[in-house]
Symmetry: C2
Subunit: 209 residues, 2 copies
DNA sequence: ACCTGAACACCGTTCAAGT
DNA sequence: ACCTGAACACCGTTCAAGT
Protein backbone atom coordinates (compact mmCIF):
# COMPACT_ATOMS: atom_id res chain seq x y z
CA UNK A 1 0.00 0.00 0.00
CA UNK A 2 2.99 2.34 -0.16
CA UNK A 3 1.71 5.07 -2.45
CA UNK A 4 4.47 6.00 -4.83
CA UNK A 5 4.36 9.80 -4.71
CA UNK A 6 4.30 11.39 -8.14
CA UNK A 7 6.77 14.08 -9.01
CA UNK A 8 6.06 17.75 -8.45
CA UNK A 9 7.20 20.89 -10.24
CA UNK A 10 9.81 21.32 -7.53
CA UNK A 11 11.25 17.88 -8.30
CA UNK A 12 11.71 18.83 -11.93
CA UNK A 13 13.29 22.17 -11.01
CA UNK A 14 15.74 20.49 -8.63
CA UNK A 15 16.66 17.82 -11.17
CA UNK A 16 17.09 20.40 -13.92
CA UNK A 17 19.37 22.55 -11.76
CA UNK A 18 21.49 19.53 -10.86
CA UNK A 19 21.83 18.54 -14.50
CA UNK A 20 22.71 22.08 -15.57
CA UNK A 21 25.32 22.35 -12.83
CA UNK A 22 26.88 19.03 -13.76
CA UNK A 23 26.60 18.99 -17.54
CA UNK A 24 25.86 22.52 -18.63
CA UNK A 25 22.74 23.99 -20.14
CA UNK A 26 23.16 21.88 -23.26
CA UNK A 27 23.16 18.78 -21.06
CA UNK A 28 19.58 19.46 -20.02
CA UNK A 29 17.28 17.63 -22.43
CA UNK A 30 13.86 16.13 -21.97
CA UNK A 31 15.51 12.71 -22.05
CA UNK A 32 18.32 13.45 -19.56
CA UNK A 33 15.74 14.96 -17.24
CA UNK A 34 13.51 11.91 -17.53
CA UNK A 35 16.42 9.58 -16.86
CA UNK A 36 17.38 11.42 -13.69
CA UNK A 37 13.83 11.27 -12.33
CA UNK A 38 13.24 7.70 -13.45
CA UNK A 39 10.52 8.80 -15.78
CA UNK A 40 9.82 9.03 -19.49
CA UNK A 41 11.34 12.05 -21.23
CA UNK A 42 7.98 13.46 -22.24
CA UNK A 43 6.69 13.53 -18.66
CA UNK A 44 7.98 17.10 -18.18
CA UNK A 45 5.13 18.33 -20.31
CA UNK A 46 2.65 17.42 -17.56
CA UNK A 47 4.32 20.15 -15.44
CA UNK A 48 5.77 22.74 -17.83
CA UNK A 49 4.58 23.85 -21.26
CA UNK A 50 8.15 23.62 -22.60
CA UNK A 51 11.80 23.45 -21.57
CA UNK A 52 12.31 27.22 -21.61
CA UNK A 53 9.73 27.60 -18.88
CA UNK A 54 11.48 24.93 -16.85
CA UNK A 55 14.72 26.91 -17.10
CA UNK A 56 12.91 30.07 -16.05
CA UNK A 57 11.58 28.21 -13.02
CA UNK A 58 15.14 27.17 -12.22
CA UNK A 59 16.26 30.82 -12.39
CA UNK A 60 13.36 31.79 -10.16
CA UNK A 61 14.40 29.17 -7.62
CA UNK A 62 18.07 30.22 -7.55
CA UNK A 63 17.28 33.93 -7.30
CA UNK A 64 14.64 33.16 -4.70
CA UNK A 65 17.30 31.72 -2.43
CA UNK A 66 19.21 34.99 -2.62
CA UNK A 67 16.06 36.88 -1.78
CA UNK A 68 15.49 34.69 1.28
CA UNK A 69 19.12 34.78 2.40
CA UNK A 70 19.44 38.58 2.38
CA UNK A 71 16.05 39.31 3.88
CA UNK A 72 16.23 41.77 6.80
CA UNK A 73 18.88 44.32 7.56
CA UNK A 74 19.11 47.05 10.16
CA UNK A 75 21.63 48.82 8.07
CA UNK A 76 22.04 51.78 5.77
CA UNK A 77 20.41 51.55 2.33
CA UNK A 78 23.86 51.63 0.77
CA UNK A 79 25.03 48.68 2.86
CA UNK A 80 21.89 46.73 1.94
CA UNK A 81 22.44 47.41 -1.75
CA UNK A 82 26.02 46.25 -1.53
CA UNK A 83 24.90 43.10 0.27
CA UNK A 84 22.34 42.24 -2.41
CA UNK A 85 24.86 42.74 -5.19
CA UNK A 86 27.50 40.64 -3.49
CA UNK A 87 24.99 37.88 -2.69
CA UNK A 88 23.68 37.76 -6.25
CA UNK A 89 27.14 37.56 -7.72
CA UNK A 90 28.03 34.80 -5.28
CA UNK A 91 24.93 32.77 -6.14
CA UNK A 92 25.93 32.67 -9.78
CA UNK A 93 29.46 31.71 -8.88
CA UNK A 94 27.87 28.48 -7.63
CA UNK A 95 25.72 28.05 -10.72
CA UNK A 96 27.74 29.49 -13.60
CA UNK A 97 25.96 27.45 -16.26
CA UNK A 98 22.76 29.31 -15.60
CA UNK A 99 24.16 32.75 -16.35
CA UNK A 100 23.46 32.74 -20.07
CA UNK A 101 19.69 32.18 -19.71
CA UNK A 102 19.70 34.65 -16.82
CA UNK A 103 21.16 37.35 -19.02
CA UNK A 104 18.45 36.69 -21.59
CA UNK A 105 15.70 36.69 -18.99
CA UNK A 106 16.86 39.97 -17.43
CA UNK A 107 15.31 39.05 -14.10
CA UNK A 108 11.77 39.05 -15.46
CA UNK A 109 10.38 36.40 -13.13
CA UNK A 110 8.66 36.73 -9.73
CA UNK A 111 11.61 36.45 -7.37
CA UNK A 112 13.75 38.54 -9.70
CA UNK A 113 11.22 41.33 -9.70
CA UNK A 114 11.07 41.03 -5.92
CA UNK A 115 14.78 41.80 -5.67
CA UNK A 116 14.51 44.61 -8.21
CA UNK A 117 11.81 46.19 -6.08
CA UNK A 118 13.95 45.86 -3.01
CA UNK A 119 16.78 47.67 -4.80
CA UNK A 120 14.35 50.40 -5.79
CA UNK A 121 13.24 50.81 -2.20
CA UNK A 122 16.82 51.18 -1.02
CA UNK A 123 17.67 53.66 -3.76
CA UNK A 124 14.61 55.69 -2.84
CA UNK A 125 15.74 55.61 0.79
CA UNK A 126 19.03 57.08 -0.40
CA UNK A 127 17.06 60.07 -1.66
CA UNK A 128 16.65 59.20 -5.33
CA UNK A 129 13.41 59.57 -7.19
CA UNK A 130 11.92 59.84 -10.67
CA UNK A 131 14.31 59.71 -13.56
CA UNK A 132 17.42 59.54 -11.40
CA UNK A 133 16.00 56.55 -9.58
CA UNK A 134 15.49 54.78 -12.89
CA UNK A 135 18.99 55.61 -14.08
CA UNK A 136 20.55 54.44 -10.83
CA UNK A 137 18.71 51.13 -11.01
CA UNK A 138 19.86 50.61 -14.56
CA UNK A 139 23.49 51.37 -13.73
CA UNK A 140 23.62 48.97 -10.82
CA UNK A 141 21.76 46.21 -12.64
CA UNK A 142 23.94 46.49 -15.74
CA UNK A 143 27.10 46.36 -13.72
CA UNK A 144 25.88 43.41 -11.70
CA UNK A 145 24.87 41.40 -14.75
CA UNK A 146 28.09 42.25 -16.54
CA UNK A 147 30.26 41.33 -13.58
CA UNK A 148 28.52 38.00 -13.22
CA UNK A 149 28.86 37.27 -16.91
CA UNK A 150 32.45 38.41 -17.09
CA UNK A 151 33.61 36.56 -14.00
CA UNK A 152 31.84 33.25 -14.38
CA UNK A 153 29.96 32.71 -17.62
CA UNK A 154 30.81 30.33 -20.35
CA UNK A 155 33.48 28.00 -19.09
CA UNK A 156 34.49 25.53 -16.43
CA UNK A 157 37.29 26.68 -14.16
CA UNK A 158 40.38 25.33 -15.81
CA UNK A 159 39.22 26.44 -19.23
CA UNK A 160 38.47 29.88 -17.85
CA UNK A 161 41.92 30.21 -16.39
CA UNK A 162 43.54 29.20 -19.62
CA UNK A 163 41.46 31.66 -21.56
CA UNK A 164 41.93 34.51 -19.15
CA UNK A 165 45.64 33.96 -19.16
CA UNK A 166 45.78 33.85 -22.92
CA UNK A 167 44.17 37.24 -23.01
CA UNK A 168 46.19 38.67 -20.18
CA UNK A 169 49.46 37.54 -21.62
CA UNK A 170 48.93 39.80 -24.57
CA UNK A 171 49.77 42.67 -22.24
CA UNK A 172 52.93 42.59 -20.19
CA UNK A 173 51.32 44.11 -17.10
CA UNK A 174 49.11 41.09 -16.54
CA UNK A 175 51.48 38.23 -16.55
CA UNK A 176 52.63 38.55 -12.94
CA UNK A 177 49.05 39.19 -11.78
CA UNK A 178 47.35 36.14 -13.17
CA UNK A 179 49.59 33.22 -12.44
CA UNK A 180 47.01 31.24 -10.48
CA UNK A 181 43.26 30.76 -10.37
CA UNK A 182 43.21 32.22 -6.88
CA UNK A 183 44.86 35.41 -8.06
CA UNK A 184 42.31 35.75 -10.80
CA UNK A 185 39.44 35.13 -8.39
CA UNK A 186 40.83 37.67 -5.96
CA UNK A 187 41.31 40.23 -8.68
CA UNK A 188 37.75 39.70 -9.93
CA UNK A 189 36.41 40.16 -6.41
CA UNK A 190 38.40 43.35 -5.81
CA UNK A 191 37.43 44.83 -9.16
CA UNK A 192 33.76 44.09 -8.48
CA UNK A 193 33.90 45.79 -5.08
CA UNK A 194 35.58 48.81 -6.62
CA UNK A 195 32.91 49.15 -9.29
CA UNK A 196 30.16 48.92 -6.68
CA UNK A 197 31.78 51.75 -4.74
CA UNK A 198 32.13 53.88 -7.86
CA UNK A 199 28.50 53.41 -8.89
CA UNK A 200 27.04 53.85 -5.40
CA UNK A 201 29.11 57.02 -5.02
CA UNK A 202 27.46 58.25 -8.20
CA UNK A 203 24.06 57.35 -6.78
CA UNK A 204 24.78 59.47 -3.73
CA UNK A 205 25.95 62.32 -5.92
CA UNK A 206 22.68 62.12 -7.85
CA UNK A 207 20.68 62.09 -4.64
CA UNK A 208 22.49 65.16 -3.36
CA UNK A 209 21.95 67.22 -6.50
CA UNK B 1 33.47 30.09 -69.73
CA UNK B 2 32.05 32.22 -66.90
CA UNK B 3 33.77 30.70 -63.89
CA UNK B 4 31.28 30.50 -61.08
CA UNK B 5 33.29 31.79 -58.13
CA UNK B 6 33.12 29.52 -55.12
CA UNK B 7 32.15 30.89 -51.73
CA UNK B 8 34.70 32.20 -49.24
CA UNK B 9 34.77 32.31 -45.47
CA UNK B 10 33.65 35.93 -45.69
CA UNK B 11 30.56 34.88 -47.66
CA UNK B 12 29.57 32.48 -44.92
CA UNK B 13 30.17 35.07 -42.21
CA UNK B 14 28.04 37.66 -44.02
CA UNK B 15 25.24 35.17 -44.64
CA UNK B 16 25.33 33.98 -41.03
CA UNK B 17 25.16 37.54 -39.69
CA UNK B 18 22.20 38.34 -41.95
CA UNK B 19 20.35 35.22 -40.81
CA UNK B 20 21.06 35.92 -37.15
CA UNK B 21 19.88 39.52 -37.52
CA UNK B 22 16.68 38.44 -39.27
CA UNK B 23 15.77 35.22 -37.50
CA UNK B 24 17.77 35.13 -34.30
CA UNK B 25 20.60 32.85 -33.31
CA UNK B 26 18.31 29.83 -33.32
CA UNK B 27 17.45 30.62 -36.93
CA UNK B 28 21.02 29.94 -37.97
CA UNK B 29 21.30 26.28 -38.94
CA UNK B 30 23.49 24.49 -41.42
CA UNK B 31 20.45 24.13 -43.64
CA UNK B 32 19.24 27.75 -43.46
CA UNK B 33 22.79 28.87 -44.18
CA UNK B 34 23.05 26.56 -47.18
CA UNK B 35 19.71 27.77 -48.52
CA UNK B 36 20.77 31.41 -48.34
CA UNK B 37 24.00 30.72 -50.21
CA UNK B 38 22.40 28.36 -52.71
CA UNK B 39 24.50 25.51 -51.47
CA UNK B 40 24.08 22.24 -49.62
CA UNK B 41 23.81 22.54 -45.84
CA UNK B 42 26.95 20.56 -45.20
CA UNK B 43 29.10 22.85 -47.33
CA UNK B 44 29.94 25.02 -44.31
CA UNK B 45 32.23 22.31 -43.09
CA UNK B 46 34.64 23.05 -45.93
CA UNK B 47 35.23 26.47 -44.30
CA UNK B 48 34.60 26.08 -40.57
CA UNK B 49 35.08 23.06 -38.30
CA UNK B 50 31.64 23.64 -36.75
CA UNK B 51 28.88 26.19 -36.31
CA UNK B 52 30.29 27.62 -33.09
CA UNK B 53 33.42 28.70 -34.92
CA UNK B 54 31.28 30.34 -37.57
CA UNK B 55 29.52 32.35 -34.86
CA UNK B 56 32.87 33.34 -33.39
CA UNK B 57 33.94 34.55 -36.82
CA UNK B 58 30.75 36.61 -36.98
CA UNK B 59 31.58 38.18 -33.62
CA UNK B 60 35.09 38.89 -34.82
CA UNK B 61 33.72 40.63 -37.90
CA UNK B 62 31.25 42.81 -35.98
CA UNK B 63 33.79 43.81 -33.34
CA UNK B 64 36.34 44.39 -36.06
CA UNK B 65 34.13 47.07 -37.57
CA UNK B 66 34.14 48.90 -34.25
CA UNK B 67 37.89 48.66 -34.09
CA UNK B 68 38.18 50.15 -37.57
CA UNK B 69 35.61 52.88 -36.96
CA UNK B 70 37.21 54.22 -33.78
CA UNK B 71 40.78 54.03 -34.96
CA UNK B 72 42.75 57.25 -34.39
CA UNK B 73 42.04 59.98 -31.90
CA UNK B 74 43.96 63.08 -30.91
CA UNK B 75 42.13 63.17 -27.66
CA UNK B 76 42.55 62.46 -24.00
CA UNK B 77 42.75 58.80 -22.93
CA UNK B 78 39.50 59.24 -21.05
CA UNK B 79 37.72 60.57 -24.14
CA UNK B 80 39.06 57.67 -26.20
CA UNK B 81 37.84 55.16 -23.64
CA UNK B 82 34.41 56.70 -23.61
CA UNK B 83 34.31 56.62 -27.40
CA UNK B 84 35.19 52.93 -27.53
CA UNK B 85 32.54 52.05 -24.97
CA UNK B 86 29.85 54.04 -26.74
CA UNK B 87 30.79 52.58 -30.13
CA UNK B 88 30.75 49.02 -28.83
CA UNK B 89 27.38 49.44 -27.21
CA UNK B 90 26.02 50.97 -30.41
CA UNK B 91 27.31 48.11 -32.55
CA UNK B 92 25.36 45.61 -30.52
CA UNK B 93 22.26 47.75 -30.68
CA UNK B 94 22.35 46.97 -34.40
CA UNK B 95 22.97 43.25 -33.85
CA UNK B 96 21.16 42.38 -30.63
CA UNK B 97 20.82 38.69 -31.49
CA UNK B 98 24.55 38.26 -31.27
CA UNK B 99 24.86 39.43 -27.68
CA UNK B 100 24.33 36.07 -26.02
CA UNK B 101 27.25 34.35 -27.78
CA UNK B 102 29.33 37.49 -27.24
CA UNK B 103 28.77 37.28 -23.51
CA UNK B 104 29.90 33.66 -23.57
CA UNK B 105 32.93 34.45 -25.69
CA UNK B 106 34.08 37.31 -23.49
CA UNK B 107 35.87 38.98 -26.36
CA UNK B 108 38.36 36.14 -26.74
CA UNK B 109 38.90 36.50 -30.49
CA UNK B 110 41.49 38.52 -32.45
CA UNK B 111 39.65 41.80 -32.97
CA UNK B 112 38.21 41.63 -29.47
CA UNK B 113 41.67 41.27 -27.99
CA UNK B 114 42.78 44.17 -30.15
CA UNK B 115 40.19 46.44 -28.53
CA UNK B 116 41.03 45.13 -25.08
CA UNK B 117 44.64 46.05 -25.67
CA UNK B 118 43.65 49.50 -26.82
CA UNK B 119 41.69 49.99 -23.61
CA UNK B 120 44.71 48.87 -21.64
CA UNK B 121 46.91 51.39 -23.43
CA UNK B 122 44.51 54.22 -22.64
CA UNK B 123 44.19 53.20 -19.00
CA UNK B 124 47.98 53.09 -18.75
CA UNK B 125 48.09 56.57 -20.27
CA UNK B 126 45.76 57.71 -17.50
CA UNK B 127 48.45 56.68 -15.04
CA UNK B 128 47.26 53.20 -14.05
CA UNK B 129 49.57 50.22 -13.75
CA UNK B 130 49.87 46.77 -12.25
CA UNK B 131 46.99 45.52 -10.18
CA UNK B 132 45.00 48.74 -10.47
CA UNK B 133 45.22 48.59 -14.23
CA UNK B 134 43.80 45.07 -14.16
CA UNK B 135 40.98 46.08 -11.85
CA UNK B 136 40.12 49.11 -13.94
CA UNK B 137 39.92 47.01 -17.09
CA UNK B 138 37.67 44.51 -15.37
CA UNK B 139 35.34 47.22 -14.08
CA UNK B 140 34.94 48.86 -17.45
CA UNK B 141 34.54 45.60 -19.33
CA UNK B 142 31.97 44.23 -16.91
CA UNK B 143 29.92 47.38 -17.08
CA UNK B 144 30.08 47.48 -20.85
CA UNK B 145 29.01 43.85 -21.25
CA UNK B 146 26.24 44.26 -18.70
CA UNK B 147 24.91 47.43 -20.28
CA UNK B 148 24.82 45.80 -23.67
CA UNK B 149 23.07 42.73 -22.31
CA UNK B 150 20.64 44.72 -20.21
CA UNK B 151 19.70 47.20 -22.91
CA UNK B 152 19.43 44.96 -25.95
CA UNK B 153 19.72 41.24 -25.36
CA UNK B 154 17.06 38.66 -25.68
CA UNK B 155 14.12 40.20 -27.47
CA UNK B 156 12.94 42.06 -30.53
CA UNK B 157 11.94 45.65 -29.90
CA UNK B 158 8.23 45.43 -29.27
CA UNK B 159 8.66 42.45 -27.00
CA UNK B 160 11.36 44.26 -25.10
CA UNK B 161 9.16 47.25 -24.52
CA UNK B 162 6.34 45.13 -23.27
CA UNK B 163 8.65 43.33 -20.90
CA UNK B 164 10.40 46.41 -19.63
CA UNK B 165 7.07 48.06 -19.01
CA UNK B 166 5.74 45.08 -17.18
CA UNK B 167 8.65 45.26 -14.82
CA UNK B 168 8.62 49.00 -14.48
CA UNK B 169 4.93 49.10 -13.69
CA UNK B 170 5.56 47.15 -10.55
CA UNK B 171 6.97 50.35 -9.07
CA UNK B 172 4.97 53.55 -9.17
CA UNK B 173 7.95 55.76 -9.95
CA UNK B 174 8.48 54.18 -13.35
CA UNK B 175 5.12 54.44 -14.96
CA UNK B 176 5.45 58.05 -16.15
CA UNK B 177 9.04 57.45 -17.27
CA UNK B 178 8.52 54.51 -19.56
CA UNK B 179 5.45 55.23 -21.63
CA UNK B 180 7.21 54.92 -25.00
CA UNK B 181 10.05 53.04 -26.56
CA UNK B 182 11.88 56.31 -27.13
CA UNK B 183 11.72 57.17 -23.48
CA UNK B 184 13.15 53.80 -22.58
CA UNK B 185 15.91 54.16 -25.15
CA UNK B 186 16.76 57.63 -23.88
CA UNK B 187 16.81 56.46 -20.31
CA UNK B 188 19.07 53.53 -21.19
CA UNK B 189 21.45 55.87 -22.97
CA UNK B 190 21.58 58.35 -20.09
CA UNK B 191 22.09 55.64 -17.50
CA UNK B 192 24.93 54.17 -19.55
CA UNK B 193 26.67 57.54 -19.83
CA UNK B 194 26.31 58.07 -16.11
CA UNK B 195 27.85 54.71 -15.31
CA UNK B 196 30.79 55.42 -17.61
CA UNK B 197 31.42 58.68 -15.80
CA UNK B 198 31.23 57.00 -12.41
CA UNK B 199 33.67 54.23 -13.37
CA UNK B 200 36.12 56.51 -15.19
CA UNK B 201 36.09 58.83 -12.19
CA UNK B 202 37.08 55.84 -10.11
CA UNK B 203 39.88 55.05 -12.57
CA UNK B 204 41.24 58.56 -12.17
CA UNK B 205 41.01 58.26 -8.41
CA UNK B 206 42.99 55.03 -8.58
CA UNK B 207 45.60 56.65 -10.81
CA UNK B 208 46.00 59.56 -8.42
CA UNK B 209 46.47 57.41 -5.32
C1' DA C 1 39.43 23.20 -53.43
C1' DC C 2 34.67 23.13 -53.00
C1' DC C 3 30.33 20.89 -52.96
C1' DT C 4 26.65 16.89 -52.95
C1' DG C 5 23.85 13.08 -50.94
C1' DA C 6 22.94 9.84 -47.82
C1' DA C 7 23.27 8.59 -43.34
C1' DC C 8 23.82 8.89 -38.09
C1' DA C 9 22.58 9.99 -33.50
C1' DC C 10 20.36 13.36 -31.44
C1' DC C 11 16.81 17.12 -30.33
C1' DG C 12 11.81 19.32 -28.57
C1' DT C 13 7.20 18.49 -28.89
C1' DT C 14 2.52 16.21 -29.87
C1' DC C 15 -0.87 12.98 -29.08
C1' DA C 16 -3.31 8.87 -28.22
C1' DA C 17 -3.31 5.62 -24.78
C1' DG C 18 -2.73 3.69 -20.28
C1' DT C 19 -3.47 3.79 -14.70
C1' DA D 1 -3.50 13.76 -12.26
C1' DC D 2 0.52 11.77 -13.94
C1' DC D 3 3.04 8.94 -17.06
C1' DT D 4 4.13 5.86 -21.40
C1' DG D 5 5.18 4.87 -26.32
C1' DA D 6 5.30 5.86 -30.79
C1' DA D 7 5.76 9.27 -33.97
C1' DC D 8 7.00 13.92 -36.19
C1' DA D 9 9.95 17.39 -37.99
C1' DC D 10 14.13 19.10 -37.03
C1' DC D 11 19.04 19.46 -35.54
C1' DG D 12 24.80 19.17 -36.11
C1' DT D 13 28.09 16.42 -38.00
C1' DT D 14 30.54 12.61 -40.76
C1' DC D 15 31.97 10.56 -44.79
C1' DA D 16 32.26 8.73 -49.28
C1' DA D 17 31.68 10.46 -53.63
C1' DG D 18 31.56 13.77 -57.28
C1' DT D 19 33.84 17.96 -60.27
Amino acid sequence: MSTRTAHTRADYVAAALAIIDEHGLAGLTTRSLGDRLGVHGTAVYRHFPNLDELVEAVLNEVIGRIADATEPADDTPRARLTAIMVATRRAFAEHPNIIVPFVSSRGMFPRGLEITNRVLTDLAAMGLSGRELAEALQMLESYLIGSIAFDYAGAPDHLEIRRVRRRMLAHEAFDPLTRSAEQIGELNEAAFALGCIALLDMCERLAAS
